[in-house]
Point group: C2
Chain length 251, copies 2
């Protein structure tokens, strides 16, 4: 059985304040843990449901953890009931260090996706996954966005969280004001040029406003270019993960 | 207070089998109910949290319901605790008839989005909303897909569910075999032509496979054209709502 101390620590990591305090987060599921082990991430502990250790994909995972000298614990049903973050425990969970990302880390050149006030964990996870698909390595989040290490975000990235550098700005406006000296700031907006006219630039930031309120005036006035994804139906807006996906497909 | 019979009926509509039996579904929230009332949908009942009836957007909604001769009930906190489908009740809920959609209704010409084995309610809702944005009116679902009248799907369509004709196929393979006489069947796949080469046709069906398994061989062999959304990163796949969004943006 898992020590009570470990159980308590894992439970704490389901809350944002403790994730910040310990700079650690949780990843559940074979796919996510596997991607974590394969990446440069600092995996601190892998918990495996003991009864599944001989299934081929679990065996492979355990071997990879052993090769990387990562601590492994085998857990029983009772432990799982206490630590799982979803209805059904997918058999494996890892505790992983949150990487320290400085502003310079996302200012290495190349496109940057900037999300203001993104609240939906599934949307953020999907955007991280889409960025990874299109080879876009940098994402910046405003100070009031959902925690990217929230279990729901992590799950919907499908392992892509380990390949994208995510900078959580303390003050997005200041960050963009600084960045605007070297980067072209591009925004999606209503009534602007059609997105088909967008010409990808080497150093550009693509800024998405909040789903409910759109781009804030403070950010809008900093933009160098603005584009519209033209629709001809009756929906009021597109889902932000879809807008971001359409934009990223053009870079 | 709401009659116990009404409460029971609403609770039943949170389950798929009763939605099918009664051909009714639930819509929560000002935006959704408002779109329902504005559409051709047959709204059977509107429940409003009594304490909010004088808020401007609620008053507008009530007036619209009255104009359309829709029954309105005012409910108290206690009732809400019993009927709400989400943590926080957004103040209004409607019971609406599920429209009867025949195959002909989606074969009126124009593009059709076909989803095989789509399971995630948020993804389906987002695809319906995106279709509505781009003016695509027809969606076909395979027999094993999530119920489009599931409250989570309805919520994430943001009111677009009332503007799109959704046909739930009994047997998608047979449906497509028939349709292929008059429609070009287009699929997204790995290692096909880049999607930039796609030329929209008047009568075309765009087929998306399941998120976990991709296109089934039975469907794949029916395709007339195949395209790939090329990525250069490391993610294994795109979220289906993002893929569908990128494709729809090209139609």
């Amino acid at each position: 059985m898992l020590p009570q101390k470990t159980i308590k620590h894992i439970l704490k990591l389901q809350q944002k304040k403790y994730r910040k305090e310990f700079a650690e987060f949780l990843v559940e599921g074979v796919k996510g843990v596997y991607e974590g082990l394969r990446s440069d991430a600092d995996v601190l502990l892998v918990l495996v449901e003991g009864s599944r250790r001989d299934e081929p994909e679990f065996a492979e995972l355990i071997q990879l953890a052993e090769e990387k000298d990562v601590a492994i614990e085998f857990v029983v049903r009772k432990d799982i009931g206490e630590i799982k973050t979803t209805e059904t425990f997918p058999g494996v969970l890892a505790v992983i260090s949150i990487p320290e990302i400085a502003p310079e880390d996302v200012l290495e050149g190349g496109p940057v996706i900037v999300l203001d006030n993104i609240k939906d964990p599934g949307n953020l996870g999907t955007i991280i996954r889409t960025a990874d698909w299109f080879g876009i390595e940098h994402i910046v989040l405003s100070e009031d966005s959902v925690d990217p290490y929230n279990p729901k975000v992590v799950r919907s990235t499908m392992g892509s969280i380990f390949r994208i550098k995510i900078f959580e700005a303390q003050h997005l406006e200041n960050f963009l004001r600084n960045a605007s000296k070297e980067y072209v700031l591009v925004g999606l907006d209503l009534d602007a040029a059609p997105i088909e006219k967008l010409k990808p630039k080497k150093n550009a930031m693509y800024i998405f406003g909040s789903e409910s309120h759109g781009l804030r005036p403070e950010l809008e006035q900093m933009l160098h270019e603005r584009y519209t994804i033209a629709g001809k139906g009756s929906a009021e807006s597109l889902n932000v993960a879809v807008s971001a996906g359409i934009l990223m497909s053009k870079l």
